[in-house]
Amino acid sequence: MNIQFRENQEAASPLTVKTAIADCDIHPARATRTELYPYLAKRWQHHLEVYGVHAYQGMMEGPPYPKAQPNASRRDAYPPEGGPQGSSLSFMQKQLLDPNNVQLGVLNPLNTGQGIRNHELAAALCSAINDWQIDKWTSKDKRLKASIVVGNEDGLSAAAEIRERAGDKNFVQVLLLSRNVEPLGQRRYWPIYQAAEEAGLPVGVHAFGFGGNPITPSGWPSYYIEEMVGHSQCQQSALASLVLEGVFERFPKLKMVMIEAGFGWAPSLAWRLDKVWQRLRSEVPHVKRPPSEYIREQVWWTTQPMEDPESREDLFDVINWIGWDRLLFATDYPHWDYDEPSRVLPAGVSEANREAFYLGNARALYGIG
């Protein structure tokens, strides 16, 4: 027989990477609308049924822009047993973890209780998501580690959630989103940084969220493609705020991870901050060192979406500025802008840097053997 029919499409993995990797941005999803109910008090189940969830953003029942693919996900990532992409552990193992030899996978759940107006409901939903992450994911596959989801707009309840989870080995970071009600350096968010620093947990800032503000600094754009590039603009203002409000100065052991907004813009942002800081430092005397120093010391970056300039030398220039010890490989599975591990890093990288890029940096940051 000269042909072989591929019966089992779900097992398809076009390429495999033999070297072990960390995947620092995986999005687990709920298979059903009520999957969190076992972790929610009856009072909140009732609330959800009667009133639903309201974000800071008005007039929306879903994402503000249509996504490129259903659920913003890979079309080949529907679990065979049904449910949305990212909702099946066994399929995630088959499609992502096993073929790519993922040794550490960091879960960043989206569409949680973050950024919703009712702060008590937000806290309850976030806590439920955290319980659910243990039950459904991290306790079932030791490669997976969870991010503590917190109701970010209420710093005190967020800090309480962090303290409750501190020391639990299922969790390796605190998760915030980049679009918030105010820029992330502002004082309402400081209890989160304080609790994270005390717990020794990095704070991840993932692109997205509903803060009620226009999603670009100049207003609401027309197209999804503008929202995509708007993520990096949003992370830049978040990072500038963290530096200029003195968060890094106030919490010197705090580690921030900028997730899913690229990193090619980091050097130019730091250069610009340094330049204006030299002239305007008297306005922010609590910022005692050039902004670039805080950024290089206290910020890590996930790779997806990996920068893809025409010349690999351009890419290497950026990474050399950031530091090969600061990048954390991520796929963004199951989302449609997934980065394939074997394809993202051009040739010409030393073995030590490759290892750090794919695994070592993540292990060190998240304290995983």
């Binding site: 000269n2 042909i3 591929r6 398809a12 076009p14 693919q69 890979r74 079309r75 802008d337 394809r343």
Partner: protein, 137 residues
């Protein structure tokens, strides 16, 4: 260039596609309104199973506000990053200079012709009376 029998015509009606592996290469064959096309089932960008994406048309514009939607059902959109390729030629529309997916000629041959040649697939020798979809690579 060797010819490979893919399936009896009845098994690949219009609007369907078939995934197979030929000589270790992942191939997809499409029947678009009675025409057959073969493509390497691997996106040249990051290696996704390209042909598991949707078949769409081609949106083009000469001026803002003027949109033409052509080649309906002839453009395959990668299930990962949405890169678009013409299934007739394998041409990429986002970076045609650097990326192209290998296209393989596919067509129908009468059963009588394929069973005579050296390309007989044992599995289909039982139904020589029908026509077969054949891909060349």
């Amino acid at each position: 260039m060797a010819r490979h029998v893919i399936a009896p015509v009845d098994e690949l009606p219009p609007g369907t596609r078939k995934f197979l592996e030929i000589d270790g290469r992942p191939i997809a064959v499409f029947n678009i309104k009675g025409e057959y096309f073969g493509l390497m089932n691997r996106c040249p960008h990051q290696g996704a199973s390209l042909c598991e994406g949707p078949l769409i048309g081609l949106a083009q514009s000469n001026n803002p506000g003027e949109i033409e939607y052509t080649k309906l059902g002839e453009i395959i959109r990668c299930p990962w990053h949405g890169w678009e390729f013409d299934i007739r030629t394998g041409q990429s529309y986002c970076d045609p200079r650097r990326f192209r997916v290998k296209a393989y000629p596919a067509h129908v041959e009468p059963g009588a012709s394929v069973v005579k040649g050296p390309y007989v697939a044992e599995t289909i020798a039982v139904s020589v009376e029908s026509d077969y979809v054949v891909v060349e690579l």
